[in-house]
Assembly symmetry: C2
Homo-oligomer: 319 residues x 2
């Protein structure tokens, strides 16, 4: 299918209506009307075939995930999503693949009232870049640099499921359905992120493993964290598939969870739980550590012994 | 080089200061403060290795062009550029390539006061996605759907040079320096675009050849265009390298010029020239046709005969 037919196909499907979209797909650029006084929150992430998803993945899952990983970044900033742009590089212009991709992408966009307003389609190895835009009241964004000594360290949902699914796929095993869902259909924690504005001091989304991502918070905030690895939620779901050591490893260092990791004042545990409950996300929050003075993340097992992972988290360009 | 080292390298270089950048590279998302009352203008374009530039192209040229093609979209909307995000997919994390890329990318960003505020670096076949953000006063954006019967049709600068350079490269010839400059270092016509707000009725940037791009204006505006192909500027620069027929073809149907094509009321030629002069861009504007009733672009040679190109313009996924 020719490029302009593909753009027409995408345009015909991108029907999410928003009053603040003055001009969407079809011109040199989109025209958008930001709400007065709000800050704009912008994130951009790319998924590449064979790197971020196994070759042959159902295009609907690729579409969902391409938007989900971006919305997860907005969630971590406590932003309300609004618009996105999409650049699709395709080895050929297969309209069936694009239609499947849009099924997943637009299903998630619809859930969060996100309008697809522009982008690009081009020839190249399969790659999807998405830019998302959201809003936040000035001063309300959750950043990586706000953690303070004495804060509790929290995570949402469960950890390790996506990495376990990927491990099963790599081993040529059948992927357990519950784990597959975690890998293919991550849920951006938008409602939770927004509920945590004014409650949490710092926040990051867990894309590279909680150890690695907490490390970024430590550097940005100039603090250290004591992390209780056996408190990380979700071990039970991994037990049918993995031994305890392997499960602990994936929970601490596996990627692709797209949960939130945040810090909040040490005496605010009840406030944190109340905020999470009030957001009605159905997502639990679990306290898993404490911010202390120093540098870096110190992981401790259930006996209080220092625990060192074989690898610290997913990072590109590291063999 | 590891991913986070690469991000640090980019962050250390992305020093363009803007008061409206609350938080740039280094968190889950950028925080930006749009100016009150203005519309946000957003475009996103991707360049792929071997598709949009020859393999082995100097990374500084790739960097310049990756931003230039995006800024050209803002120019066509009469927008003032402000921010960009960059997603780099790299087969390996070669810091020398990235440093060269940033030389070109940031040199152009600096010319237009554009801050690089975020993005992504990831492993994959060489691919560069950029999203640009600019501002325009409500109602002042130039769109594709504003052309009216009786309008003059104009182009900026010269056409055909980039396509001629690409042809020389494909033929294994030495690329003439003046043509190479047109291919590798296109200048986004930001000042001209802004000067045309309130003067032009419709505008598009010429990325796929003026015939193809004018075709989009015709469809969006519900009009036809009579285009005088022998009036297209820049034939002289092509003459040392190409016969007249081949030159005409590249001027009408070659891509990558990144000039502006716009329409303005038929009695406003002096106003158009005065606006272009006042913008002090050093870029000529040339009237090359007329908007008429009907559909599509009718190309005429100097004798008023209908002229049909062998191919209509660059389009992905068309062999």
């Amino acid at each position: 299918m020719a490029e302009f037919k593909l753009i027409d196909l995408i345009r015909a499907r991108a029907t999410q209506a928003r009053d603040d979209v003055v001009l969407g797909i079809g011109d040199d650029a989109a025209l958008l009307q930001p709400p007065p006084g709000m800050q704009l929150v912008v994130a951009m992430d790319t998924l590449n075939d064979g790197v971020h998803f196994p070759p042959g993945t159902d295009p609907a899952h690729v579409g969902w995930k391409a938007l989900a990983v971006n919305l997860s970044d907005l969630a971590a900033m406590a932003a309300e999503p609004a618009w996105c742009t999409l650049s699709l590089s395709l080895p050929d212009g297969d309209p069936a693949w694009v239609a499947g991709f849009l099924d997943g992408f637009l299903a998630l966009a619809s859930l969060y009232d996100v309008a697809l307003v522009g982008g690009d389609t081009t020839r190249g190895p399969l790659s999807i870049s998405v830019t998302v835009h959201g809003f936040v009241d000035p001063g309300r964004a959750l950043r990586r640099d706000g953690a303070r000594v004495g804060d509790g360290v929290w995570v949402s949902g469960t950890l390790g499921g996506a990495a376990a699914a990927l491990g099963q796929w790599r081993a040529g095993e059948t992927i357990a359905p519950a784990l597959r869902e975690r890998l293919e259909r991550p849920r951006p924690r938008i409602a939770l992120g927004r509920a945590l504005a004014g409650v949490a001091n710092a926040c990051i989304d867990i894309s590279d493993g909680v150890l690695a991502d907490l490390g970024h918070v430590c550097v940005a905030s100039g603090v250290a964290v004591r992390l209780e690895v056996d408190a990380l939620p979700g071990r039970e779901a991994l037990r049918p598939h993995l031994g305890d050591d392997a499960a602990r490893m994936l929970q601490a260092s596996g990627g692709d969870d797209y949960e939130l990791c945040f810090t909040a004042p040490g005496d605010a545990d009840a406030t944190v739980r109340a905020a999470a409950d009030a957001a009605e996300t159905g997502v639990e929050v679990t306290r898993v550590g404490t911010v202390v003075a120093g540098q870096g993340v110190q992981a401790l097992d259930r006996d209080g012994r220092s625990w060192l992972p074989a690898r610290k988290g997913h990072e590109h360009f590291v063999p």
